[in-house]
């Protein structure tokens, strides 16, 4: 018996691996024209794993103080063997992860996979999206360069507009009145402790719920299969779906490698808190639509300040979006059509405002 076989036998003896494998071989995944969207969640998970691994490597050298942060990233990029690659992949996979998370969310939305019994799966997914955006926002400041410093100033100003609790939120985020060393250590804490902890809990919950309820089939497809049961198609999770998932992961890896090779992530110029904000300060692309909306809103809309209206508007929209499974409960009625229309509008709005934000600069 080879060493590998002996190890497998030991694991099976202790943990019942054969049972798990048998379960996975028995588990099936529906096959239809929208099956490709199933891979978006897995790709997001793969990119998250890359984030964790590269993040731990960066953590070995990174120092979260205004005096050292920029220099430590500079050191990683110049002195640490393959540090440039680790940093570039960390930055690029963060952006790709947010992109795939958004794509996953919209695919779930348009395939109506959030409906009963998957309400909690949707809610845990929305929580993960917020966590992922939090990762992006907190990680952006960590290199302590000019762009990230001033973008964080602008970004943390936005929650400050929220009535009643705005001031409290601003202080909570910044650790004081302004973006200072306290903000950097706070963001570092969010980025490497609080958010990873929350992410682990919610990823576990999300996967558990996906496993519990299985892959959702779009209503139109389900109706077709119900009418003609012989047309129903499935594939085994192991090995058929897993191999395809692996292909998706390798595709993400190839894209990451290509981006790191041909568009390495720049470090920029060290932040000077006493300098005036340079022209063209803008947030990362995934906050661009909100940033542009706030910029385009007039100073006052009637008696209400424009910024306040924007922030409250986005807050309400996000709350409605999150609670979607509780008012779109099924069928193809008026509510369902309204929800689909709102989704198309939301997607078009995000794409248009993001493109506008980059074109007007």
């Amino acid at each position: 018996m080879s060493a590998l076989a002996r190890t497998y036998a030991w694991l099976d003896d202790h943990f019942g691996v054969n049972e798990i494998v048998a379960f996975l071989r028995k588990k099936t995944v529906p096959v239809h024209r929208f099956s490709y969207f199933y891979f978006l969640g897995g790709m997001t998970l793969f990119l998250f794993i890359i984030q964790v691994i590269t993040g731990i490597l960066l953590l070995l050298y990174y120092r979260p103080t205004p005096a050292d942060a920029f220099e430590s990233v500079q050191y990683i990029m110049t002195q640490v063997r393959f540090g440039w690659l680790i940093r570039s992949i960390h930055s690029w996979s963060a952006n790709l992860m947010i992109l795939t998370a958004f794509a996953h969310m919209f695919s779930v939305f348009f395939l109506k996979s959030y409906r009963k019994p998957r309400e909690l799966t949707w809610l845990s997914g929305m929580a993960l999206l917020v966590i992922v955006l939090g990762f992006g926002f907190s990680g952006y400041l960590l290199p302590w360069n000019t762009l990230s410093f001033f973008a964080t100033k602008v970004g943390t100003d936005i929650p400050g507009q929220i009535p009643i609790m705005g001031k409290w939120m601003l202080t909570l985020l910044r650790g004081g009145e302004d973006v200072t060393a306290a903000t950097l250590t706070r963001f570092f804490g969010f980025h490497v402790a609080l958010l990873p902890g929350l992410a682990t809990i919610f990823v576990g919950l999300h996967l558990l719920l996906v496993q519990r309820f299985g892959m959702s089939v779009p209503p139109s497809q389900e109706a077709e299969w119900n009418a003609k049961p012989p047309n129903k198609r499935e594939m085994h999770f192991l090995p058929n779906f897993l191999l395809r998932e692996l292909m998706a992961w390798y595709l993400a890896l190839a894209i990451l490698g290509a981006l790191a090779a041909f568009k390495p992530w720049e470090l920029g110029v060290k932040a000077d808190p006493f300098a005036s904000a340079p022209a063209g300060i803008r947030p990362e692309w995934y906050f661009m639509f909100m940033f542009e909306t706030l910029k385009l809103l007039p100073a006052k809309v009637g008696p209400i300040p424009g910024d306040l209206l924007g922030v409250v508007g986005f807050g309400l929209a996000a709350a409605l979006w999150t609670m979607l499974p509780f008012f779109d409960r099924g069928g193809n009625g008026r509510t369902s059509r309204w929800v689909a229309g709102a989704g198309v509008f939301a997607l078009a709005y995000i794409v248009a405002l993001t493109a506008y934000g980059y074109m007007v600069k």
Partner: protein
């Protein structure tokens, strides 16, 4: 043995005496300061602020002036008695009323206080009191002494009732406002006609590097009219003194000029030092094209092809442009490497040293000798060559990284193909 009551009594005496002295001292100080600040009534303003035309007085303007702030009133200059509303008493000669002050009286009137060091010490101990004596040595003062009342007197530059200290931006003699103040007369062709002097100074100065530094960049130490011409003792610098005036700020250039052949040559030709090449009011940012034998080179104003100065000018120009181009090449390459993600901050920092050498060489050309700039040029070229080398190494690293990652991407694609083939094989075996 002293009882408590006795002790208290013995303590109270000195305490009461000390407190009394303190109260008296404070009261005395207040009483002494009172004439400077107390302004119980000013009937002049009460009346003239309601008048129109020549008799109108803007009370707000006066109240905001430095004189009013320091407690002076109309009476301080115009005499009279501002404590009464009765016009005949307020403006009576018996009360010292002098009414309108003629231009010819102004310098002496202002000097009455401003030349009195003991009096001025009460208001501003650091203020100089030689303005009037300086004025008397100025072109303005000399013309005034000859009876020319068109020439500038104190109020023309400082204002009349709205006088502000020079450090106040509202003041006409604040550094940012001096050029416009001088220009009010000196840019007025009609006004200056009798004096036969040009009126293009303000226009020229407004296009100069000095004006840009002062007005655009807000550097209040940058020169304005009074920096070179003086203020109260204003006069045009003579041929001999131009270099000394410029050297107040441009110390090294002046020292180098003094060691070079131009000093003697210019002197023998009756040419002033700096302005022969840089002009006077329209001093623009010097460029490397100013020296040499090409278009725009000021050297060609005196030198012709073949003479030693012509050869030196050409060589100096080549030295400067060679180093400038070398720095630009290194900067460009390092910039490309930086954009490609290779950290070249250290090499870029070192480039500052090369730029510093170029700056020193540009200053060094004022000696008009190649050996004066050669060491800086050589040092700069050495640093920029090292920068270029660092840039090339960095670009090599970029290529290496790209190739390495390209290989890994290709391997990943092969794995993808392998997975695809494996799926096909598995599914054909399964019959699915």
């Amino acid at each position: 043995m002293t009882t408590l009551g006795e002790g208290r009594a013995s303590l109270c005496g000195p305490l009461i005496r000390a407190a009394s002295l303190l109260v008296l001292g404070v009261a005395g100080t207040l009483a002494a300061a009172a004439p400077l600040h107390a302004q119980t009534k000013n009937s002049c303003l009460d009346c003239h602020s309601t008048q129109t035309g020549a008799f109108h007085m803007d009370s707000e303007e006066f109240v905001a002036s430095i004189h009013a702030q320091k407690g002076l009133t109309c009476v301080s200059c115009h005499g009279g008695d501002s404590s009464t509303d009765e016009m005949s008493r307020a403006m009576s000669p018996a009360a010292g009323f002098r009414g309108h002050i003629e231009r010819k009286e102004i310098p002496a009137l202002c000097a009455k206080c401003h030349s009195d060091a003991a009096y001025m010490r009460n208001y501003n101990p650091s203020l100089r009191t030689d303005q009037f004596s300086q004025y008397q040595t100025s072109v303005h003062g000399k013309l005034f002494a000859k009876g020319d009342t068109k020439t500038a007197v104190c109020v023309d530059c400082h204002g009349v009732h709205d006088i502000q200290p020079p450090g106040d931006q509202r003041s006409r003699v604040h550094p940012l406002n001096v050029a416009q103040t001088c220009g009010r007369c000196h840019a007025d062709a009609g006004y200056m006609k009798p004096y036969g002097i040009n009126t293009d100074q303000l226009g020229d100065y407004s296009a100069s590097a000095h004006h840009e530094a002062l007005a655009v960049r807000g550097d209040l130490s940058a020169p304005t009219c009074s920096t070179c011409h003086g203020s109260h003792g204003a006069s045009p610098p003579g041929v001999d003194s131009v270099a000394r005036v410029c050297s107040t700020c441009h110390v090294f250039q002046a020292q180098l000029f003094d060691t070079g052949p131009h000093k003697e040559a210019f002197g023998s030709m009756g040419l002033p030092g700096c302005i022969t090449c840089h002009s006077n009011h329209r001093i623009v940012h010097p460029t490397d094209a100013m020296i040499g034998t090409g278009q725009g080179a000021v050297c060609l104003n005196c030198h012709t092809e073949g003479d030693p100065g012509f050869v030196t000018a050409g060589a100096l120009h080549d030295d400067l442009t060679q180093l400038d181009a070398a720095i630009a090449r290194s900067d460009e390459l390092l910039g490309r490497a930086e954009r490609a993600g290779v950290e070249v901050g250290e090499a870029q920092l070192a480039q500052a040293e090369a730029r510093n050498d170029l700056l020193k060489a540009r200053v060094g050309i004022h000696a008009v000798r190649r050996e004066a700039v050669q060491s800086d040029i050589d040092a700069g070229l050495k640093v920029s060559a090292a920068g270029l080398q660092a840039g090339q190494t960095a670009m090599g690293e970029v290529q290496y990284r790209r190739k390495g990652l390209l290989v890994s991407v290709v391997i990943t694609i092969f794995v993808l193909i392998g997975l695809y083939l494996m799926i096909r094989k598995t599914e054909s075996n399964d019959g699915r």
